[in-house]
């Protein structure tokens, strides 16, 4: 009964979406204000029924209704209640419902918070968002319906994948989707700008906070994914260049370029076609990501259960959306002529450089992800593209981009001079070199070229951002939220680079044989297995070990690695790492296999400053939020 109600809800939502995508656009073309204003009601209608559908699905999970196929595939009566709810987005169908819900959430937000935008443009934006909704709703209803019945009902569910039974699943997908879907708003703004043929750049001022918000959410979503993989998967890595990771990273890279380009277009009225293109491409990459993850075209540890029919549908959706927008772009963009000029040494130039480097970085990730497919399609053999490639191509590009970020806060619009920039930043450069040289001596005992370069880059970004902030503080101009956000975000970049550099250069790992009571020495620490015991917890059986790490007899960490067997999937042994976290480093141990001698093989790792990676990313997101809150975006038009 409830499942059928859910079915009806999503169909009604589709009807609203159809109305939302057509009537307001017609209203713009035929100058009928009522039709344009109706966009708000259609958007709200769609939202209410999607909210209802989502709630119903969650409730059905709570009730353990295994007569619904999706629930039978992804849940189990032993599953703790919080994971039963988050299992809603644990599989393909439900995550699609979440995606569509988020889209309507953003749409309603636009109706609510963008009232200062002229109604014609607003109507176009909401219509475009409606069109995207229609596409995804059709996809879900026709090929991936979460409310499909399983008759006769299963006695027990297959259970949620143990790897997903973790707080990470509760937050990571929603955050990620908020970001992914959020970029549809800046996309809709860009399309509306092309459709209306407006020459001015007012739309960029309106679009910018939406892009910043989406970017901030995407940043948090990605960093949560990385953090979750780190503590959940047991191998201690935080990024694998897996196709699905790349699928989220590409829009992030272009989204970063978009944020910077929007700043230029808003301030100086130039780069207009480029900004529009970036907005279109960023969202296109979000759609491409959805395709890659759900079509089975690439192998990934993240990929949802795949089906070529679904893949074809998403591809058609992707094709219509992107080809349509790019045709509109090719037709209308030549009209968007910029009216400002700038010199070779200026903030505009710096941002242009950032865009080129971020664009090239995004291209690198795109090529790396798709090249195996391209060569296979051309019958030219099968290759793998993994971390070694990205380390050699991506890292230099991203590093160069960070190099110039430092200059961004200092340089002047329109016309600046090389000597002025040097006079502002020479102190920062010296401080950076000094800190990079001294830090390793304080904490560790060795040098590495890579670490030196990385730390120099990090400190360079940090000190130059500090300098920009101090200069602004001392000047008569106020520090508005936008500027503050930039400083915080750039410092976040510095923190991020520091984390990566140190953990890569000074982290270590050692495979050991843990035997109860036997102490092992390595790199000035000793570790010993104190105990190993079986416990039954909720829906799994765990073998929990206690491992003490000490230096000079003093305990510095007590780790509790586990091996779990979930009752519903007894053939799967899952490893849960024992981690002791601190801001300056983590101790990390994961169990391997039982040894014939009675002990267990284990991998011991030390990860210095690894938390800086996510801390830095969090600062970046925070910076984005601050910038979005800038009062100049909330000023109402007096018309």
């Amino acid at each position: 009964m409830l499942a059928e109600l859910g079915q009806i809800s999503i169909i009604i939502a589709l009807i609203f979406a159809l109305l939302q995508s057509t009537i307001p656009l017609l209203g713009v073309m035929r100058h009928k204000p009522i039709w344009m204003f109706a966009s708000v009601n259609f958007a709200r209608g769609q939202f209410i029924f999607l909210l209802l559908a989502l709630f119903l699905l969650g409730y059905l999970f709570y009730l353990n209704d295994f007569s619904v196929l999706y629930i039978a595939q992804n849940s189990n009566s032993l599953l703790p209640v919080q994971y039963r709810i988050s299992a809603v987005w644990g599989g393909h169908e439900g995550s699609l419902l979440l995606w569509i819900f988020m889209l309507s959430l953003w749409t309603v937000a636009v109706t609510q918070f963008a009232r200062h935008i002229p109604i014609t443009m607003r109507a176009q934006i909401i219509s475009v968002l409606g069109l995207v909704s229609v596409g995804f709703l059709l996809f879900m209803i026709l090929t991936s319906n979460p409310f499909d019945r399983l008759l006769p009902a299963a006695g027990e569910g297959r259970d949620l994948n143990p790897l997903l039974q973790d707080p990470g699943l509760i937050f990571h997908p929603p955050m990620l989707y908020m970001g992914y879907v959020g970029f549809s708003v800046s996309f809709a703004f860009a399309i509306a700008a092309l459709l209306s043929g407006r020459m001015d750049s007012a739309w960029t001022r309106w679009a910018r906070p939406w892009a910043l918000l989406a970017w901030a959410f995407l940043t948090v979503g990605i960093l949560m994914g990385s953090w979750w993989a780190y503590y959940e998967l047991g191998w201690g890595g935080w990024w694998f260049w897996d196709p699905v990771e790349n699928a989220s990273f590409m829009p992030w890279l272009l989204g970063t370029a978009l944020l910077h380009s929007l700043a230029v277009t808003e301030a100086r009225g130039i780069f207009k076609p480029w900004t529009v293109l970036l907005a279109i491409l960023t969202f296109s990459l979000c759609l491409l990501g959805a395709f890659l993850v759900r079509s089975g075209v690439l192998t990934s540890v993240h990929a949802f259960a795949t089906d070529p029919k679904r893949g074809l549908f998403i591809l058609i959706l992707l094709f219509i959306t992107v080809a349509g927008s790019l045709i509109l772009y090719a037709w209308r963009a030549p009209r968007l002529v910029g009216t400002g000029q700038f010199t070779l040494v200026s903030r505009e130039s710096g941002i242009l450089l950032n865009n080129i480097l971020m664009g090239a970085a995004a291209l690198c990730v795109l090529l790396g992800t798709l090249y195996p497919l391209i060569l296979d399609g051309l019958n030219a053999g099968k290759i793998s593209v993994g971390p070694p490639y990205f380390n050699k191509v991506f890292v230099p590009l991203a590093g160069a981009s960070a190099l110039f970020a430092a200059i961004g806060g200092i340089s002047k619009w329109k016309k600046d001079s090389f000597s002025r920039i040097v006079s502002k930043l020479w102190l920062a450069l010296i401080a950076a070199v000094l800190c990079a040289a001294l830090l390793p001596l304080i904490f560790y005992d060795s040098y590495s070229i890579g670490a030196l370069f990385g730390l120099m880059l990090a400190f360079w970004v940090f000190f130059s951002s500090l300098k920009a902030a101090i200069d602004r503080w001392l000047s008569p101009a106020r520090i508005n939220a936008g500027f503050f956000g930039m400083i915080v975000a750039h410092i976040g970049v510095a923190v991020f680079i520091t984390g990566i550099t140190i953990v890569t250069a000074y982290g270590w790992q050692k495979d050991v044989a843990l035997i109860k009571g036997k102490s092992i020495q390595y790199k000035s620490v000793e570790f010993v297995l104190l105990s190993l015991s079986q416990h039954q917890i909720e829906n799994y059986n765990a073998l929990i070990g206690h491992v003490r790490v000490s230096r000079n007899g003093e305990e510095i960490a007590l780790l509790k690695p586990e091996k779990r067997r979930y009752i519903a999937q007894p053939d799967n042994a899952m490893t849960e790492a024992g981690i002791q976290a601190a801001w300056y480093g983590d101790w990390y141990i994961s169990l391997g296999e039982p040894l014939d001698s009675g002990g267990w093989s284990a991998r011991m790792q030390y990860k210095p400053f690894v938390r800086f990676i996510w801390g830095g990313a969090l600062l970046m997101a925070l910076g984005g939020l601050f910038a979005a809150a800038d009062r100049r975006y909330r000023r109402r038009r007096i018309t």
Binding site: G296, L326, G381
Partner: protein, 173 residues
Amino acid sequence: MKYFIPLLIFLCLTVFLLIGLKLDPRLVPSPYINKPAPSFSLSRLDNQSIAVQRDDFLGKTWVLNVWASWCRACLDEHPLLLSLPKNINLVGLNYKDDKTDAKNWLLRWGNPYSLSLSDTDGKVGFDWGVYGVPETFVIDAAGVVRYKHIGPLQENDINEELLPLLKRLSTPQ
């Protein structure tokens, strides 16, 4: 005109994505196609004292099928192997298996092989680039690998690929 470039690039990309839907990203093709088969020396499953070498097979096209008694999918393709024409020299590579289990399996389900070789530790399979079971190779009279099929053989694999290939290789050029 330059504004059309993004569209053109995207159209090319779509073509590849469309092609990609038909491909299987997990398949690892063999680097031995059109190259000499790796050499080996293994004992027969039915008689441990007899050693068989790669070069023993020169002069006639032969088919190597990698199988094991613990392999569920091998059972699926087994009836098709039994129904292959008798003039095909089907040789089994018993991969990482217990000899008794293997012999019992053949007794129970039928033996389509002219002979089976014992690759108990999987070293020969490794040299041949085997990474899953079952796999099937076609080697021509000169000892060159001409074809590899990954996974259980199905009717149309046999009818549309295997048999025509064997026919081509047997007819004198």
